[in-house]
Symmetry: C2
DNA sequence: CGACAATCTGAATCATAGTTCATTCTTGTA
DNA sequence: TACAAGAATGAACTATGATTCAGATTGTCG
């Protein structure tokens, strides 16, 4: 027997892989995907450029992986809320607020995920990201329609509208150089929510909807 | 006296410039900005590569110019409607429908303007484009709020929401390979409008709004 | 330890596409 | 027609940044 990868080596490899991904993620968080150049990633991760290619077949794959990890984190948060307890309208509200608020908080990263000019590979990843957003919204919408909380609509289109409205409304303010959100962030989020909730037909509902479980720390939007 | 640019030469120069811009625009309309490579543009325009640089300082400028021309055409159509006669709600409706419908018709070009991955220069141009959209929407919204047709809102955010919702809802279907809109186009447009109009607070208005001048060929959206 | 395999290194290479510029062709005036 | 200046040409150049790979290092096992 000639060679066998020991656990300690496997661990070190995994560790290096993480280091690389973390380095890349940090660069993206600081300067967007444009800042994630292979040389920089390598330097920040403390390895040689060539080493990156022992872990990822190409820059595109590395960046995609970063994109997926970061976006998965967001999606999980939202999916958790979507699948949680509460009326559809309460969950929709919570999901929207969370989405927008987290984007405002993680400004640069959100910009990178949602709006930064990227090449086709990442654009594809971004499309998937938005589609998943759409699915989360659709799910809630379907339930809300079934329960009579929302009027019947094409949920896919409606979900896509929401998925587009939020980032776009935030983008100007979200752009790395803008500091608009530092102060007005909450107000902007409220306005966006008003629009989206009204868009699905909620704010002026035919039947007054009672929301049985308002979440702590999730204040109602202004009427 | 040695040399003077005659009218006929000036005309030829202007003509060449137009040829170049048209060639570029056609390439963009066929394959997006990605297809607008200098060599290709030159070939299509029937000039040498170097000649392009006698008319435009860089590829970026050439592409920006193309972007501006194409988007200006769209903006003018919308601005015309916005400044035309009719209640704010009627104009808003008309503008939204026109925006969406034209995007569906001019599929590839719309995709290039709204969603194709482009580099930073064009992304800037695109941001301006969206901002102008926003301004058109804001204008109508302000008037509608003043006249009591819409509830009071932050018009900038609301306008941005609309400007984001429409393209995003169209993008999946708008993507060059998708043929979804060939049949379902109208329905999708209707759904998007429903969302946006409801979003501004219109579809279930406090006071029933009568639209005095419904435009020919601009059917009302389904109730 | 010695031999072999896996891993790492980073300067050199490559790929792409935009840009340049020495040269040629056209146009305007004397 | 001669000649100067503008315009056009397109092959060569360049800039950027990803990718490679021959050699060095580290790890495994008899």
């Amino acid at each position: 027997m000639a060679y066998r990868r020991t656990d300690s080596v496997a661990a070190r490899l995994a560790d290096t892989r993480r280091h690389i991904l973390n380095a890349a993620r940090e660069l993206v968080a600081e300067g967007g995907f444009a800042a994630a150049q292979m040389t920089e990633v390598a330097r920040k991760a403390g390895v040689a450029t060539g080493t990156l290619y022992r872990y990822f077949p190409s820059k595109e794959e590395l960046c995609r992986q970063v994109f997926r990890e970061v976006s998965a984190r967001e999606m999980n948060v939202l999916a958790g809320i979507a699948q949680g307890p509460g009326t559809a309208s309460a969950r929709l509200e919570s999901v929207l607020r969370t989405f927008a608020t987290r984007a405002v908080r993680g400004r640069r990263l959100a910009f990178a995920l949602l709006a930064e000019p990227v090449d086709v590979g990442l654009a594809e990843e971004r499309a998937r990201f938005r589609r998943t957003h759409g699915e989360i919204f659709s799910g809630i919408l379907e339930e809300g329609i079934a329960s009579g909380e929302f009027p019947a609509r094409d949920v896919k289109v409606t979900a896509a509208c929401i998925a587009g409205a939020i980032p776009t409304a935030l983008i100007g303010p979200l752009a790395p150089e803008s500091h608009e959100l530092d102060e007005k962030g909450e107000k902007v989020v409220d306005e966006i929510m008003t629009f989206c909730l009204a868009g699905v037909g909620l704010l002026q509902p035919r039947i007054k909807v009672k929301s049985p479980e308002p979440r702590i720390g999730e204040p109602r939007i202004r009427a």
